[in-house]
């Protein structure tokens, strides 16, 4: 187990190092001079040169990489060119929206998907299965912005249960903040739940054909008990894989939903930074997301080992 853990950890760290080099290199290659951009088109060449020196843009590449990477480690991401505030403050502010949103959406999607998958798999080919998988098909097919608009129409405009958009900030209290995240979380969760339910179903169906399910039934356990105790855990590996991928998506890929609900999330920050060539923000957020994805993957790898003893004893 320790060997497995250490190996996974080493792989994660190596990936992170490599990713940081790639991110740094790509943004170096991109055209556009941040100094010129900050000073505007009318600045003289001397002024630009001065600022470049100030920003350390003229230093050798390796030195700049080390400086940048060292900064990342001490959570010093530099200053945003456009907002003129430390990037870390921007990111922290946005994460306070995006992270809870992603977690709520992920939890919702899991809570919906696993029972639906179990239900469908246990009634394979019968009416219940057809209906729930049809619904899942619909969930995958419907664009989430349209679904979000429908949610706003029903719950905000018509029933007036929740605000139609915006985020009051956590300072306004946990209740109102959560309330404003609820609809976007549902809008995000539903398509994810649809995918996850399908994965859960097919993984379960495969497991339900295994001989050990028959052994468990021959012990006298009722079908439902066998489903929960014997089948579900064996079907968890593909489900965990998809969950890991979904978390990464929910953290950063939510720009459309953030726009629909007017939420100040990470997705919108990246989008604005890209359009304004605020490369230092782009760089930092991309690195942060890379780190998050790697961390989630590590977590998924470790949970494989928790679920499946065969992975623990293998090297």
């Amino acid at each position: 187990m320790t060997a497995y853990l250490l190996k996974r950890l080493a792989i994660a760290l190596a990936t992170l190092l490599l990713a940081s080099m790639v991110v740094f290199a790509v943004l170096e290659i991109l055209p556009g001079d941040p100094a010129r951009l900050m000073l505007g088109m009318n600045a003289s060449a001397d002024q630009v040169e001065l600022l470049r020196n100030q920003m350390g843009l003229n230093a050798p590449l390796a030195w700049r990489y080390l400086h940048w990477a060292g900064g990342l480690l001490s959570l010093d991401f530099g200053r945003s060119y456009t907002y003129s505030v430390p990037v870390i403050d921007l990111v922290r502010e946005r994460l306070a929206v995006s992270l809870p949103l992603a977690l709520i959406a992920l939890a919702l999607s899991t809570i919906i998907a696993i029972p639906v998958g179990l239900f469908s798999a246990s009634r394979r080919g019968r009416a219940g299965d057809t209906i729930s998988m049809g619904a899942a098909q619909l969930g995958v097919a419907v664009p989430n912005f349209w679904f979000a608009l429908m949610l706003i129409y029903v719950f905000a405009v018509w029933l007036r249960l929740v605000p139609a958009g915006g985020f009051p900030g956590w300072s306004a209290g946990i209740g109102p903040a959560l309330k404003s995240l609820l609809l976007p979380a549902v809008a995000l969760a539903l398509p994810q739940a649809a995918i996850l339910a399908r994965v859960t179903r097919s993984a379960l169906i495969e497991v339900l054909n295994e001989d050990y399910i028959r052994t468990a039934r021959a012990k006298g356990l009722p079908y439902r008990t066998v489903l929960w105790r014997h089948a579900l855990r064996n079907a968890m590996i593909p489900v965990l894989t998809i969950l890991g991928l979904q978390f990464a998506f929910l953290l950063a890929g939510t720009i459309i939903i953030e726009n629909v609900f007017y939420l100040p999330g990470l997705g919108r920050l990246v989008f604005q930074a890209i359009t304004q060539r605020d490369l230092i923000v782009v760089e930092s957020v991309v690195m942060l997301l890379v780190a998050a994805v790697i961390a989630v993957n590590l977590l998924v790898d470790l949970s494989y080992a928790v679920v499946d003893p065969r992975l623990r004893s293998r090297q």
Binding site: Y212, T215, R217, K219, L221, P222, N234, D308, P309, S313
Partner: protein, 540 residues
């Protein structure tokens, strides 16, 4: 009074009739053998008793267990019976246990479920049961996972689960088919003891007539879902009144007619294996430790003359398949050399191996798993042709495939079919056709008939014998089944713990084994004649 009574049982799945008017009974303390070839409905009969049939199955007739009408019982009533009064053991021990739960949990689960005992109590009983089936605490703590056990050990766990609550009836569906003969004998002994201990009724399902004869008091022979003959085991099998019974008995002892070989032994050997050893590195329990390695094959030397048929017999895990893989150049020896037709093949590159590959082909055990289901027979059988020096044209290829199919007794029209359109025996013919299409000098066959029914097995053995005579192909048969070795080979090599411990003429070695390993194999191997004789003697 009977414990289990099956009367007029008919079963359909969808519109397909599976069973017709089955009659069968098991008394307490009695062993009833249910024999038949695959698809004859043995397992379906068992699953009907357990009520674990597929959804579309409809059963009619009467099945009474201990006074309970099984066909009318509710699912709740069945759950109360299963695992408590009726236990079941399945064929495939490698997959019958849940891989993510410890063996202790899996044995204790049924006990807790039925007796509502506390966890500690249930675990205590599970421990005793595991001891009983020969898995003592010291070597097999309850915290072991199934993947840490061998096939035979896993089957003991499955038996422990089935017998944990001392069932009145145990149904064992091919409980030893996947095991080697020595393990088989041990498991059969265990079942016999459990029956004697608590007057348990045992319904033993097998396609192996010899196994059933050794075990069963009475026997029921099934074919195409119908009972052909039923009665006292010794009488049924000695009189062989019913033609199908006779056919089964003859097929299970079938020896193909083979002309004696001419003096070919003095010539240059076709295959020469010298001092071959294969080590596998040990597992790594942590980053800084490594368990000692495993020597799968230990200093093995052997040679096969052209046209000879040689058996490599041994228990599972003795290294015979590893040795075969090295002979086929699919694996590299740690030390030693293998030469084929006088040329060394160890350490050669894939390109250099091509000529050797052409003259050396392989037939695997599982005719289901060794074909790509999405390709037509023509392409599958033509697969080895890519090792030929000159690529055959389309027409030539077609001709060669047609010829190979003809030689194994299939029709050349079969070329456009897909593998699933063939039966198990036909599929094994296809793999033989694939093996002989390059006109090889040596065919390595890894348990080529153990997945087949007795009558199909007899036909395939005949085919092997015929090809040996006609084309002069030498064989290396890898098997744990001594009847196969006796039927078709001239020489036998007995392998144990990676070493060849005995070698000689097949009949001499099998009739008068010298080494411990060979003796164990010979005594454990079920033999129909011997089993009938013993039964007759017991009954006077």
């Amino acid at each position: 009074m009977s414990l289990l009574d099956i009367e007029n049982l008919s079963l359909t799945i969808g519109d397909t009739p599976i069973l017709k008017d089955i009659e069968l009974s098991v008394a307490p303390g009695e062993v009833m053998g249910l024999v038949g070839e695959s698809g004859s409905g043995k397992s379906m009969t068992a699953l009907t008793v357990m009520q674990l049939l597929p959804h579309a199955a409809r059963a009619t007739g009467r099945v009474t267990f201990d006074g309970i009408d099984i066909l009318a019982a509710t699912e709740d009533q069945m759950c109360a019976l299963r695992g408590d009064d009726i236990g079941m053991v399945f064929q495939e021990p490698m997959t019958a246990l849940n891989p993510v739960k410890t063996i202790g949990e899996q044995v204790a689960e049924g006990i807790r479920w039925h007796t509502k005992a506390s966890r500690a109590e249930a675990e205590d009983r599970a421990r005793k049961m595991l001891d009983r089936v020969g898995l003592p605490e010291a070597k097999f703590p309850m915290s072991r996972y199934p993947h840490e056990l061998s096939g035979g050990q896993r089957q003991r766990v499955v038996i422990a689960i089935a017998c944990a609550l001392k069932p009145k009836l145990l149904i064992a569906d091919e409980p030893t088919t996947a095991l080697d003969v020595v393990l088989q004998a041990q498991i059969l002994d265990l079942l016999r003891d459990l029956v004697a201990e608590s007057r348990m009724g045992l319904l033993l399902i097998s396609h192996d007539l010899a196994v059933v004869t050794e075990m069963a008091d009475r026997i029921t022979i099934l074919r195409h879902g119908e009972v052909m003959e039923a009665g006292d085991t010794a009488r049924t099998l000695s009189e062989q009144f019913h033609p199908y019974t006779r056919q089964l008995a003859q097929a299970s002892m079938h020896v193909p007619a083979r002309a004696r070989l001419h003096g070919n032994e003095t010539g240059r050997p076709l295959l020469q294996v010298e001092g071959v050893t294969r080590d596998y590195p040990g597992r790594r329990p942590s980053l800084f430790k490594r368990a000692p390695g495993i020597r799968a094959v230990d200093d093995v030397s052997l040679s096969i003359a052209p046209g000879r048929s040689v058996a490599l017999v041994g228990r599972s895990g003795c290294g015979k398949s590893t040795l075969a893989r090295m002979i086929l150049a699919l694996d590299r020896p740690t030390s030693g050399t293998i030469s084929f037709r006088g040329e060394t093949i160890t350490g050669k590159s894939q390109a250099e191996l091509k000529p050797a590959r052409r003259d050396m082909q392989v037939v695997f055990q599982d005719p289901y798993g060794s074909f790509d289901p999405r390709q037509k027979v023509e392409k599958l059988v033509a697969e080895p042709l890519h090792v030929l020096e000159k690529k055959p044209t389309r027409a030539e290829r077609h001709e060669m495939v047609a010829h190979a199919l003809h030689e194994v007794g299939l029709d050349q029209r079969d070329m456009d079919k897909y593998p699933h359109e063939f039966s198990g025996g036909q599929r094994q013919r296809l793999s033989i056709a694939r093996a002989i299409i390059t006109r090889p000098k040596l065919v390595v066959a890894d348990e080529p008939v153990s997945a087949l029914d007795v009558s199909i097995r007899a036909q395939i053995l005949d085919l092997f014998a015929e090809l040996n005579q006609k084309l002069g192909i030498a064989y290396l048969f890898i098997t744990h089944d001594l009847t196969v070795a006796r039927a078709i080979t001239d020489e036998v090599l007995v392998m144990h713990d990676g070493k060849i411990v005995e070698r000689g003429k097949t009949n001499e070695v099998l009739d008068h084994p010298q080494s411990e390993a060979a003796k164990a194999l010979v005594t454990a191997a079920p033999d129909l004649h011997r089993a009938i004789a013993r039964r007759m003697q017991e009954q006077g």
